[in-house]
Amino acid sequence: MTRTTTTARRRGLAVLAGGASLALLLAACSDPDGDAPSESESSGDAMSSTSIDCSAYDEFGDLDGTTVNIYTSIVEPEQATQEASYDAFEECTGVTIAYEGSREFEAQLLVRIQAGNAPDIAFLPQPGLLNTIVNDYPDAIQPAPDATVANVDEFFSETWKGYGTVDGTFYAAPLGANAKSFVWYSPSMFADAGYEVPETWTEMMELTQTIADEQETLPWCAGVESGDATGWPGTDWIEDVVLRTAGPDVYTQWYTHEIPFNDPQIVEAWDTTGEILKNPEYVNAGLGGVDSIATSPWTDAGFPILDGNCWLHRAANFYQTQWPSGTTVASDGDVFAFYLPTDQTDIKPVLGGGEFVASFADRPEVQAFQTYLSSADWANQKALSTPEGGWVSANTGLDPENLQTEFDQLAWETLADENAVIAFDGSDLMPGEVGAGTFWTGVVDWLTGASTQEVVDRIENSWPM
């Protein structure tokens, strides 16, 4: 009997000890203002951040020691320059910016919002995603603070403000801008062969035919493979051509579904694109047949230009950052780009894109940071902290002198051109089922043998009612 009592007592003690150690641990750790581990300073080019006016953030009160979390799809190599551009704000206010980039951003963001674990700020790569969030999680997203709205009114056009607006409420200020209507080429190859940069679509097609006749290599190279987003570079092609063959008005009717996706005007644009992309005489230089466009990663689809295997590659301004290190991007360098020409005489359509700053918290430090990102100060800081280039903004307060590369200045001029009609990436404005679904897969099917009519009919049928 004694034995059992001792074991029982021992067990009782063990339970007590377990409970006690837990209590101790909890007590030891419940330090309410435990400092968050300090972020290591971002390794951007250190630059004097005295050039911004700190008084703009006085109205938000004392922010010293607070933290703002950012969640974004912008990962290396652009991440370092993004973080460097926040230094000025961090020095002004004492706020720490915790940056989290993820390639799975689009899927994860919605999961995090659902789980009540939304970041303070997210950079949305499409207005379509903003619409989804506002419609599905109206309680999570915060309208933009007044100071941000004032900045946007001052530095951005109505059109850009419109992309960040849902049902009359302004949520998300534009961050960076993309200009997608560019064709990359090798200036030296052009000079050696005696070719001129084409000024109109017709000239470009003539040049294409000339290259196909005279040269051993095919004129165009293209690639739309992009992991589980495969197909998107192809949608940019189609959108650019819709703008040129049907015009901006039809383009707007197209992405708002006022006209069906299989409207004859849209079919015509696909077929015009097909004159290049589905013509085995013109593509796919150094990469294979027409179907190889579907399997060539977009990130290196333009590289044959460097080996002299390819002459022309249509890709956005951010393709500048994709070229292998050591490539000189300049009008007299290894590669450069020209505006994708048009036969329209009155306008120059530019396919654009961009990120938008949505916030899920209304703490003063978050609002202050939103305000900073929408200011001319930030745009200029970002330009200065991006020595390799590949970044431009629609912010009118941006001084083009601060853009570090010749090509970025060209991109900025293209966006700022008085005849420029900026049209936002259509697939980003369409409902997700189409813009990030059937339009992508449609492009892939189209490049691997399906007819235009077949593909546009299927996309039209998938449009949500």
Binding site: G18, L22, L26, P37, L110, E216, D228, T230, N309, G437
Partner: protein, 329 residues
């Protein structure tokens, strides 16, 4: 106590994990202590004391989400409107999804059968040879490679480059074709063969598992049966057909069904190699696409339920055969 609910940084997350473990130990020891205190208590109380917590966790972490998924599958894209069986109708009538089901069926039929057959033949061939250990190790090694890793390896094997001046093939298969004088092929584009080339990856991974289990089963066949068969004049194929296969039938079924379950979940291979393009989409990957890219929770839930229903008979059969295999022993 905010760090407990919202840990930031690795250190705090580890701390929370540690707290959770301690909490579990404390609660568990308390329960067991309480159960152990009184004399002569009914058996079910003791049993509940031991399995109660895990059962509660299972109910909360497995059964509850399954029921929520089932519930969501009868609602629209963001679970705001009841739509009845519309999602299921979509999944079974739209050509796009019919094709997904067809491709999944191809996977579930081909991958387990071929893996098992190859594994079985291999196990019989190398049985009791001098180099058995080495031969088995070679086939077993792919088991240790993750599906994504294997997909990347095979992606390079299938890699295509055009056959023209100044271009080097980098894919093993296409280089072999070029050496033999054939034009290089786009293995991952041509339907329906591309699905076959993806299934090869699954077979490559699963054959090692089949071979190991079946080899053990073959070695367990009693020698006197084999001797008796020999005396009756059975040799080679007949021996294999009438003695080996019937003796290891339960093991064969367990291997087949286990690989079938793994195949139904084939998501990583398809996602890594083709992203479901070119008509290679399977249910598991389509469900992910609908849930996280298209943000259509209703259809995604319906596809998940379809997958769940497909796997039930296989599991039931598998468990039954396992019981049988144990009874024989």
């Amino acid at each position: 106590m905010s760090w407990l609910l919202e840990p930031s940084g690795v250190g705090e997350k580890f701390l929370v994990m540690f707290v959770a473990i301690l909490l579990f130990v404390a609660v568990m020891s308390l329960i067991l202590f309480v159960v152990d205190r009184p004399k002569r208590i009914p058996n079910w109380v003791v049993a509940l004391g031991f399995v109660g917590l895990p059962l509660a966790f299972l109910l909360y972490g497995l059964v509850r989400p399954a029921l929520i998924t089932l519930w969501n599958s009868f609602f629209n894209r963001n679970s705001t409107e009841f739509v009845g069986v519309d999602n299921y109708v979509t999944a079974f009538t739209q050509p796009q999804f019919q094709k997904v089901l067809l491709v999944t069926a191809a996977w579930v039929i081909l991958a387990p059968l071929l893996s098992t057959v190859i594994g079985l033949v291999y196990a019989v061939l190398v049985d009791r040879t001098r180099f058995e250990k080495l031969a088995k190790a070679l086939v077993f090694i792919p088991m240790a490679i993750s599906m994504v890793g294997a997909s990347i390896i095979w992606g390079f094997v299938y890699e295509f480059r055009p056959d023209q001046a100044g271009i080097q093939q980098i894919g093993l298969l296409n280089q072999l074709l070029v050496w033999l004088g054939f034009p290089p092929q786009q293995f991952l584009i041509g339907q329906p063969w591309n699905t076959g080339f993806l299934i090869v990856v699954m077979i490559w991974i699963q054959t090692g598992f089949a071979m190991t289990v079946l080899s053990a089963a073959i070695k367990a066949i009693p020698d006197d049966i084999v001797e008796a068969a020999r005396l009756d004049g059975l040799h080679g194929m007949q021996m294999f057909r009438f003695i080996t296969v019937p003796s290891i039938r339960p093991a064969l079924v367990v291997v087949l069904t286990t690989i079938a379950m793994a195949t139904l979940k084939a998501f990583d291979i398809v996602r890594t190699m083709t992203g479901g393009q070119f008509g290679t989409q399977v249910v598991a990957n389509e469900f992910y696409t609908q849930a996280f890219r298209q943000n259509n929770q209703g259809l995604a839930a319906a596809l998940a339920v379809v997958l769940f229903i497909l796997v039930i008979p296989i599991i039931v059969y598998n468990v039954g055969q396992m019981r049988k295999a144990e009874d024989i022993r």
